[in-house]
């Protein structure tokens, strides 16, 4: 039982990332009808927002400290980050330590802007063109974004550690009445899961309970009629594109501590997220979230020793296998609306 629970927990963090990216993909598809192959790149840009903020916070100046000497007796040069001199040593160190969570605030305006520019500058011109063209141009954009990041940050993964307080693991088995040490789980993974739950909840609440969200939903159902009612639906859809980009970016920011960001992380996640969207049902938001978590957990179960010894390599192919079965037996996906992209 505890082993079972552990696998579910293990699947949650990857499942959260899948769910967040797939949610954004579905939002874009549902509102604008565009298949965005550059969405993985947005995830990656989010992760590099965290890297950038970390670098900015660590900008420092050198002073010669007379009290400390190296082994030759020369005074030692000490690097002090600017934030430490501005906010005092302790507060400054705390700010640097919490750079990843702070990067969330830093990333939101950046990702919104990136999404806005992308939609107005490029995607807008592709609404009337076939899906194949949309796939191709966003695929090209993904390559460009990836290479730009590679140019500035290099090809190697960059460590973005979580705050000191959130490192280490938690024995959560004890809380649920299992034996001690049965279920030990890294804290940051729990944080990631909670964070994504908040974001997913926030997006749904936004769409469900605000006037803006209501108009967007109406536009998703029937764009033309909403336009005829005198509402500038394009503008709202553009904002939704920005929000979808921000969701992907935030997923990337917080994912850094789990897996050091590198320039091709977006592509790795993109392929899987597309599979997630398709399994969940193109255009269905709850479907994307559900399928994201389901596939994440399924992948974690397939990675157990029992599964990999029974069928070698099952962990590598399970998601694709599920996708193929779903597409063939229920092409509209788990929760897709009837008739949406079914043929």
């Amino acid at each position: 039982m505890d082993a079972f629970l552990l696998q579910i927990l293990n699947g949650l963090d990857k499942g959260s990332a899948y769910a967040l990216i797939a949610l954004g993909l579905t939002l874009i598809f549902g509102t604008l009808g565009v298949v965005n192959f550059a969405h993985g790149a947005l995830f990656m840009i989010g992760a590099f927002c965290a890297v950038t903020l970390q670098r900015i916070l660590n900008l420092s100046y050198e002073t010669v400290d007379e009290t400390q000497t190296d082994f030759l007796g020369n005074p030692l040069k000490v690097k002090t980050p600017y934030v430490e001199s501005w906010f005092g040593p302790e507060a400054g160190a705390a700010i640097i330590d919490w750079s990843v969570p702070l990067a969330v605030l830093f990333a939101i305006p950046i990702m919104l802007a990136v999404g806005y520019v992308m939609e107005r500058g490029l995607i807008k011109h592709f609404y009337k063109r076939p899906h194949a063209d949309q796939i191709l141009v966003t695929f090209g954009l993904a390559i460009v974004l990836q290479e730009v990041i590679k140019y500035f940050f290099g090809a190697n993964p960059i460590q973005t550690p979580p705050p000191e307080a959130l490192r280490g693991s938690l024995d959560i088995g004890v809380m649920f009445g299992f034996d001690p040490n049965a279920i030990i789980y890294p804290i940051w993974r729990l944080v990631y899961f909670a964070f994504s739950a908040v974001i997913i909840g926030g997006i749904f609440a936004f769409l469900q309970f605000t006037t803006f969200g209501m108009v967007v939903r109406a536009g998703m159902a029937d764009r033309e009629t909403v336009g005829l009612l005198g509402i500038n639906i394009d503008r709202r859809f553009t904002i939704m594109f920005g929000i979808a980009a921000a969701v992907a970016g935030l997923a990337g920011v917080m994912y850094g501590p789990l897996n050091p960001p590198n320039y091709h992380m977006g592509m790795d996640f993109l392929v899987l997220s597309f599979v997630v969207v398709v399994v969940g049902g193109m255009g269905s938001l709850p479907g994307a979230v559900l399928a994201g978590f389901l596939l994440g957990i399924l992948e974690s179960f397939a990675s157990t020793t029992w599964a990999t010894t029974t069928i070698p390599g099952i962990n590598q192919i399970i998601i694709y296998l599920v996708a193929i079965i779903v597409l063939l037996t229920r092409p509209r996906g788990l929760m897709g609306r009837k008739g949406v992209m079914e043929e």
């Binding site: 063209d133 191709l136 954009l141 390559i143 070698p312 390599g313 590598q316 192919i317 043929e343």
Partner: protein
């Protein structure tokens, strides 16, 4: 000639002349001169031109005619390579059985994948093929290389070892891929003054095969079967309403293009007896899509042009470094020179993919017909200018009431 009309015959003849004379055409600069780095006439690169040309021609039969965008064609290329290397391991280094088997195996494999994937169309088809290709990649990379059943040799890549059976390997036949004793690597170098031209056996084998499959592609494009495929692209629903089942046609197109990919994979292994899983990765599938789009989707010559264009510039751009750039811009004042080098630097060497991505976006946005359409537009523009101003009024059409 050969059942082609006049225009296609001349196209085929032009392609034949260009491929056969490629060692001359691609080496316009004397060896050792400053411009020699733009020469592309060495065997390895020329082989890549034609092999990727074959791959793109095949992809175009599916994507250009039926409009089905497959994102998993590299899987067939990889399967072709693996089967060819297995033939080297089991039979002999003769390339004929290897290439034949790679085509057959890729055909069977694509029949299987096509049968499943073609039950869906549009974006679902793209994602299904992508999923299948990624699955094949994962299988080849890890699953099928366990000690009990080592089919692909995992990360190292499949290669021929000394203790392989090679039952048909004669005592005198060379110990590397050969065509009835003629090694693929043998190269005859012709020196004319300062120029040197390489005539490579492997290249000519690939070139002859490419001409054959190019001819086949022309025949397919012009056949009633090709018309059916175009009908699938323009309006599949209407085609179904007229009582035609489009499935066998699309499946046939898929298998044919899979066999082209397998042939390309087999040739790749024949030039260099090694097969790795990275050939099946989805970036490799993306590359052939790029080639086809860049050249011109649905045109005969487009994919070949696209493949040549991408492979040539990949090679040239990767070779250029900052020193070369400084040489180019040395005529500028010092500050300007450094600035130019700084600006160009991200796009060259390792930054080639950035250039490729930008180029690809520009083509999709502004020139959906690719290089072929660009050439036609240029031609029309030149013609329009030459014919003078009096045509301007004639060319204008008044809307009919």
């Amino acid at each position: 000639m050969l059942g082609l009309n006049k225009k296609d015959t001349s196209l085929l003849i032009i392609v034949a002349i260009l491929t056969l004379l490629a060692p001359f055409i691609l080496n316009p600069f004397p060896a050792g001169s400053a411009m020699a780095q733009f020469n592309a006439g060495y065997p390895d690169l020329m082989q890549r031109f034609v092999i990727f040309g074959i791959f793109a021609i095949g992809f175009n039969i599916l994507f250009g005619l039926t409009g089905y965008l497959s994102f998993g064609h590299a899987a067939f290329l990889g399967v072709g390579s693996y089967s060819a290397v297995w033939m080297f391991k089991l039979l002999s280094y003769n390339v004929i059985p290897a290439i034949a088997l790679s085509v057959v195996v890729a055909g069977l494999f694509s029949l299987l994948i096509g049968y499943v994937s073609l039950r869906r169309s549009g974006i679902y088809f793209s994602i299904l093929t992508l999923a299948f290709a990624q699955m094949s990649f994962a299988l080849a990379y890890s699953v099928l290389s366990n000690p009990k059943f080592n089919l692909t040799n995992g990360e190292t890549g499949l290669q021929v070892y000394a203790d392989d059976p090679q039952i048909l390997q004669g005592a005198n036949s060379p110990d590397l891929p050969h065509l009835f004793g003629l090694p693929m690597r043998s190269t005859y170098t012709l020196e004319v003054g300062a120029w040197s031209f390489d005539f490579n056996a492997g290249y000519y084998l690939c070139a002859v095969i490419m001409m054959a499959v190019f001819y086949l592609a022309i025949r397919i494009f012009r056949s009633p079967f090709g018309m059916m495929l175009r009908a699938v692209k323009s309006n599949q629903q209407r085609m179904n309403y007229t009582g035609l089942n489009s499935k066998p046609y699309t499946l046939a197109a898929f298998v044919i293009s899979g066999m082209y990919a397998g042939l390309a994979g087999g040739l790749m292994a024949a030039m260099d007896p090694l097969a790795g899983a990275e050939r099946m990765q989805w970036t490799a599938s993306g590359e052939v899509v790029l080639m086809t789009i860049l050249g011109g989707t649905g045109t005969l010559i487009g994919p070949v042009l696209g493949a040549g264009f991408i492979k040539y510039f990949e090679n040239i751009f990767s070779k250029i470094n900052d020193n070369v750039l400084h040489g180019w811009f040395s005529f500028l004042p010092d500050g300007m020179e450094d600035a130019m080098v700084f600006i160009v630097h991200p796009f060259i060497g390792k930054g080639w993919h950035l250039t490729l991505g930008i180029l690809f976006m520009l083509v999709v946005i502004f020139l959906p017909g690719g290089l072929v359409e660009g050439g036609q537009r240029l031609l029309n523009w030149v013609r329009g200018r030459r014919s003078g101003a009096d045509d301007k009024t004639a060319g204008k059409t008044e809307p009919a009431e």
